[in-house]
Amino acid sequence: MKKSSIIGLVVIAIAIAVIIGLYSNASSYGSFADAKKTSGELHVIGYLDKQKELYYDAAKDANYFSFYMKDKKGEECKVVFPGTKPQDFERSEQIVLVGEMVNGEFHASHIQMKCPSKYTQDKVEFTEASAKKADI
């Protein structure tokens, strides 16, 4: 066999390995209901329930944070995260969790949140003060 054919085969083999590697490692999005059915980690997208308690007490445990989240189907579940309360968590609009369900609690290993920061919302602040009048 020619060298070039060998290289060609190796390239194709690696390309296939890469794609299989992707599919075997890719996760899936789901709901809390899905998380109860599956073992292993899952992505869940949802919204923080701002009515319920966000629990974080650094004095008791600096690495325990719990809150309640509603997933996109409206199911609510307690979420436990082994870390600090992410900065500005209360202001989050949407949360993406990675984790698994353990005894009815969702144990998140990763939290990513979207905040209504200036990047996503154009909210003008009106100051009713006697503003400096710009000169024309």
Binding site: I7, V11, G83, E105
Partner: protein, 845 residues
């Protein structure tokens, strides 16, 4: 416009908008003129070229005009413009106005336009016979970039997004402010209600953010030059000639883009809090991918120049690199990444515009390659197995394959959009990327080492095996030591192999460098660049692989059995003010705060203790947080740099106030204040006695008979006595003098606080008979005391990563100088070997 608005400055925006239209028009004119200058057969090509030049120079001038108008607007705080309102504020220091330029998409497109304009003018001056075809491509690219800034409506769709759009046009102010609904007559005066802009994201208020984006965008912009040469080569059927002049530009592009990427990584390491220098975030990958493909491209271009082999691979990689740059801008700017990236730009509604940009150049490249396929100078003869060109080719193919993995995984949201699937990114993307990329790095770095012992065309196999093996043995020995000392052997085997390959690469290139000093000086550039790249790999593998969290803390309450069972790393440690805590080899103390608005610095004292408890080293780190009302809480780390490792610290949680909150407010009643403390304990003591409390002790050192209390005049029979107390808390001492007073027959006492010890002290009674004084000790409960929660990480040998980058850049500079010298001395056409028209299957893949 039916209303006139008070206080608006419309001229700078109109001028800027004029320059935008001019820059688009002139770039388009330049593209058309250069096209005819290239194709014209009637003798008018010189006139066309002159027109093209004038148009392109006008383009650069108008791009500068856009920049000046925008600068004027931001500098003068003209918040009637959306861009100024959104990205700056009055309090922004002048030097960060530059950063606010490229916080938004429009500003970064402008930056790209500017660099491409500058590069085009350099080509007008330097490209000689290549000018017309190359500039056709570059002008086309410039026209497409300028169209991103247009912001005008055509057939009901808005094309591009202009930085000169007015605030009241971008946002429906009347819908947002109820006052305009009730008093529409006030609307014409809306500007007087808008006193300040949104301000710049605190994370971008960093000197690295002043220089990182310009470097990165110069890198992106310069990728178009080799692409344009490759297109020109295909178009003009000057298949062989384009490679030589394009090599210098390609080297320049990879040098600058590489520097820009690493600068971004350094900025992330210094001021972001994800705890590292590389997170495989889609935004990072998007910049890395074209860099890697063009690195591969440069190598096969050199192969082609020297041997006539690998023509197709060289063309392919150069073409695909620029298309990937455009794809990167599509990924980061179209909003397609959505949930998968934290720091992508928001969607400006330019999704299809960006797609068109990628498609135009992709189709252009594809069509030209297909049309010219039969004529391409593809060498039928196989490379020798023992030849440098063959293994350089293989290495470049592997570089491209590593990009395939990066692209396939990073583009998951794109696949979802295209195929309607709903795949989530890998749960642990960092590990996945690390393992895959380390595997590719093993192959690429080994080849970059081995090829140094091979010659072009044919190598003496005996000698090759001996030197190759000697260096491999040496590399194995060094690697064994490094892997053992750093602890890499505990990780997956692939990281040890990557270390071996990187060390082998460094060693063999050191050999080339020493040879270079003996006379073959022109080889120095590539050797230095390779050594730099090898060191980057060494640094990355050790620092990322063996970084360890120092602040491991398993003292928590463990709320449920399940939670306790999970072996997630508990990485945060809590520090009460002035209470030392042992953390790894250090004793750390949160000593206090210093506030320099808008930064809130936390002073954390580190003491390293030896076995006998003696302090061998002491330093203070000041990680900071900003509590900004608009952006939220933002923390930045502080890092202690050593030669061989770094200690990185950042605050993950702290009860701090927003920057616009009043700081401490006095005027609380005494009773209110007492609520901040535990129930007091009274002690009756004599002078010289000691009171013990939770964190130390208090000594009554004496009485001050002439105590004074501010603003209180004492009459003849009044008495004021101060208790001179020495407070020792966790090894630090303070003094306090609470006062006991009898005034006009009534008894008063004035408490004193020792905030750093969390104490309030009162002197409430004197019992002259017993000679005792009554001191009341109020102690703050633990959870009322100031605290921080922080995380500390040690990064070993990270300096290899940074110094490798600098060395690599030096290598690139040397290589560019060498290639430029060759351009001047060697005849333009490379002496290619026997060339056949039939493509070999090897290069076809």
């Amino acid at each position: 416009m039916d209303t006139t608005f008070k206080g608006e400055h419309l001229f700078p925006g109109q001028l800027g908008q004029f320059f935008i239209i001019l820059s688009f028009g002139s770039a388009l004119l330049a593209a058309i003129s250069y096209y005819f200058a290239t194709t014209d057969k009637t003798g008018l090509s010189n006139s066309w070229r002159r027109l093209g030049r004038i148009a392109y120079m006008t383009n650069l001038a108008s791009v500068v005009g856009i920049g000046c108008s925008l600068f004027y607007i931001i500098f003068n705080h003209l918040f009637e413009y959306h861009y100024a309102w959104e990205h700056s504020s009055r309090s922004l220091p002048v030097y960060y106005i530059i950063s606010s330029y490229w916080e938004g998409q429009e500003g970064s497109f402008w930056l790209w336009c500017f660099w491409q304009g500058v590069l085009g003018n350099i080509l007008i001056w330097k490209a000689k016979s290549w000018e017309s075809p190359v500039m056709t491509v570059i002008s086309l690219s410039q026209a497409l970039l300028a169209s991103m800034l247009l912001g005008i409506e055509i057939f009901g769709t808005r094309i591009g997004s202009s930085p000169f759009i007015l605030l009241r046009e971008a946002i429906d102010l009347r819908a947002q402010a109820p006052i305009f609904a009730s008093r529409p007559d006030l609307y014409h005066n809306y500007l007087s209600y808008i006193t300040d802009g949104n301000g710049l994201n605190p994370l971008l208020q960093n000197y690295w953010m002043v220089i990182h984006p310009p470097t990165l965008f110069l890198g992106f912009a310069s990728m178009v030059v080799p692409f344009a040469y490759a297109i020109a080569g295909l178009w003009q059927k000057r298949y062989k000639e384009w490679v030589q002049p394009a090599i210098s530009y390609a080297l320049f592009a990879v040098m600058v883009l590489g520097t820009g990427v690493i600068m971004g990584s350094f900025w992330a390491y210094e001021s972001l809090n994800f705890g590292g220098f590389w997170a495989w975030d889609p935004v990072e990958n998007a910049a890395l991918i074209p860099w890697l493909t063009l690195i591969g491209g440069v190598h096969v271009m050199i192969v082609y120049k020297n041997t006539g082999h690998s023509y197709f691979t060289a063309t392919f990689l150069v073409l695909v690199s620029f298309v990937l740059v455009l794809y990167a801008s599509f990924l980061t700017r179209s909003g397609v990444l959505g949930d998968t990236s934290v720091h992508a730009f928001t969607d400006l509604g330019m999704f299809w515009h960006l797609v068109v940009d990628v498609a135009v150049f992709f189709v252009l490249a594809l069509v030209l390659v297909i049309i010219r396929w039969k004529e391409l100078p593809i060498d039928k003869k196989e490379e020798e197995t023992y030849s440098r060109e063959f293994w350089m080719f293989v290495g470049s193919v592997f570089l491209a394959l590593s990009c395939l993995q990066l692209t396939v995984v990073t583009s998951i949201p794109v696949w979802n959009k295209m195929f309607g699937t709903n795949i989530a990114p890998p749960n642990n993307p960092v590990t996945l990327y690390n393992v895959f990329q380390a595997a590719f790095a093993v192959v690429v770095a080994l080849l970059a080492g081995v090829t140094q012992f091979l010659k072009y065309k044919k190598t003496d196999t005996g000698k090759f095996y001996i030197t190759g093996a000697v260096y491999l043995l040496l590399a194995v020995l060094i690697t064994a030591l490094v892997v053992y000392v750093s602890g890499i052997y505990r990780l997956r085997i692939v990281f040890s192999l990557a270390m071996l390959a990187a060390i082998y690469m460094v060693l063999s290139n050191i050999k080339v460098l020493t040879d270079a000093f003996k006379g073959k000086i022109k080889l120095a550039g590539s050797a230095v660049a390779h050594i730099g790249f090898g060191l980057i790999l060494v640094g990355a593998v050790i620092a990322a692989g063996t970084s360890k969290v120092v602040s491991i803390n398993n003292t928590g309450e463990q709320y449920s059995a399940e939670f306790a069972k999970r072996n997630d790393p508990k990485e945060n440690i809590m520090l009460y003010k002035n209470t030392p805590v042992k953390m790894g080899d250090y004793m750390v103390t949160y000593e206090g705060d210093s506030i320099a608005m808008p930064n809130h610095y936390f002073k954390v004292d580190y003491k390293r203790l030896d076995a006998n408890g003696k302090v061998t080293e002491e330093f203070v780190l000041k990680p900071n947080s900003q509590a900004n009302r608009k952006m939220g809480l933002v923390s930045s780390p502080d890092t202690k740099h050593y030669l061989l490792h770094d200690l990185y610290t950042h605050v993950t949680m702290a009860p701090i106030k927003f920057d616009d909150d009043p700081q401490d407010n006095d005027g609380h009643s005494e009773a209110d204040d007492d609520k901040n403390y535990d129930a007091p304990i009274s002690h009756d003591i004599a002078i010289g006695d000691t009171i013990r409390y939770r964190e130390g002790y208090i000594v009554l050192e004496g009485l001050d008979k002439n105590a004074r209390v501010q603003n209180i005049q004492l009459a003849k029979n009044d008495i004021a006595v101060g208790a001179q107390l020495k407070v020792v808390s966790n090894g630090r001492s303070f003094t306090a003098e609470p006062v006991y007073m009898i005034k006009s027959g009534d008894v008063f006492d004035f408490s004193r606080k020792v905030d750093d010890a969390g104490l309030k002290l009162r002197f409430t009674k004197i019992s002259p008979k017993e000679g005792k004084m009554t001191i009341m000790v109020y102690q703050q409960p633990e959870n009322r005391r100031p605290y921080i929660v922080m995380k500390a990480i040690e990064f070993p040998y990270i300096n290899f990563f940074w110094s490798g980058t600098i060395i690599m850049v030096i290598g690139f500079v040397l290589s560019i100088r060498r290639r430029n010298k060759e351009l001047k001395t060697v005849a333009p056409a490379p002496k290619a070997n026997k060339v056949s028209k039939r493509p070999s299957p090897l290069q076809a893949h």
